[in-house]
Symmetry: C2
Subunit: 142 residues, 2 copies
DNA sequence: GTATATTCAGACAAATTACTCTTATTAATC
DNA sequence: GATTAATAAGAGTAATTTGTCTGAATATAC
């Protein structure tokens, strides 16, 4: 089971970090990324379609085509990616599933979860693709 | 979609809080809880079987039977419940799904997630059923 | 002992998520 | 223009999670 993001979203994060390591002008094929990261190729295709629709990626059909980031990797943060693929339920829904939980009538977990949830959102806004691509290139990283 | 716990786990939390509001000697039927919380009755039955197997609940068959907590509500914390139903993947697996991510060879998200994950675990250990049952009984709560 | 109300348990069905396959479209190269 | 390698898009399949149904076992009360 995944921790908090869907499998699609995990794949999106991995693939975009991979893309960010490449030069910004190069078009990279889905096949190359899927092979390299062990992600099902056509599944990644769907995910990249979503990211293209949200203008995070741009695509080019035909021979020598592929995908590349539509803006500098330092301008794309994790929250952009997660919100595109998974929506914002992780930051809005009740963590215990109480149907009527809200700030006005909180469930017994609401306030305990509030700070944690805000910490997660803050972190997702903070970390951008450039940082992560730089980190992953360091020795000892994965 | 649920936030971080499975639907089964959300239901378990809700149902156990409900149970904790009752006297400790009373046997409560699944039907009463399911009706009250709008949870599918037989689905809750399965969930309560797991909780019985892990000695969080005890059950009594037959007329006037039902379930009750196997220890004081102050001795059962959220982590006990979550670990029983969902396992510990939420606190051990890589948040971005990188296959080889570990402390020794971390992914670029590993260290950013570490504190948040530890915060979640700490909170789950901290909050017990008695506290939550008390809170939910207050006016304005849900 | 019989009727009844409950858990226990397993098979089944529906919904969601993950993944695959196929065909169409596009653009570069020859 | 023909060939080729790529995305786009939709239909279909598989796996997992969620939810339903049914019958057996059990214990209480009459």
């Amino acid at each position: 089971m995944s921790v908090i993001f869907s499998k699609q979203c995990e794949y999106a994060i991995q693939a975009l970090i991979y893309l960010s390591k490449k030069t910004e002008t190069e078009w990279i094929s889905i096949k190359e990324i899927a092979d390299h990261l062990n992600i099902p190729q056509h599944f990644l295709g769907k995910i990249f379609q979503m990211l293209s629709n949200k203008r995070i990626l741009k695509s080019k059909k035909g021979l020598q085509g592929g995908f590349c980031l539509s803006k500098p990797s330092s301008d794309i943060n994790l929250k952009d990616i997660v919100d595109t693929i998974d929506g914002d339920a992780y930051s809005t829904a009740c963590v215990a599933g109480f149907p009527n939980c809200s700030n006005d009538s909180p469930c017994p977990l609401h306030n305990s979860w509030k700070d944690l949830r805000e910490g997660i959102v803050k972190m997702l806004k903070m970390r951008n693709l450039k940082q992560m691509a730089d980190e992953i290139s360091k020795p000892g990283y994965n």
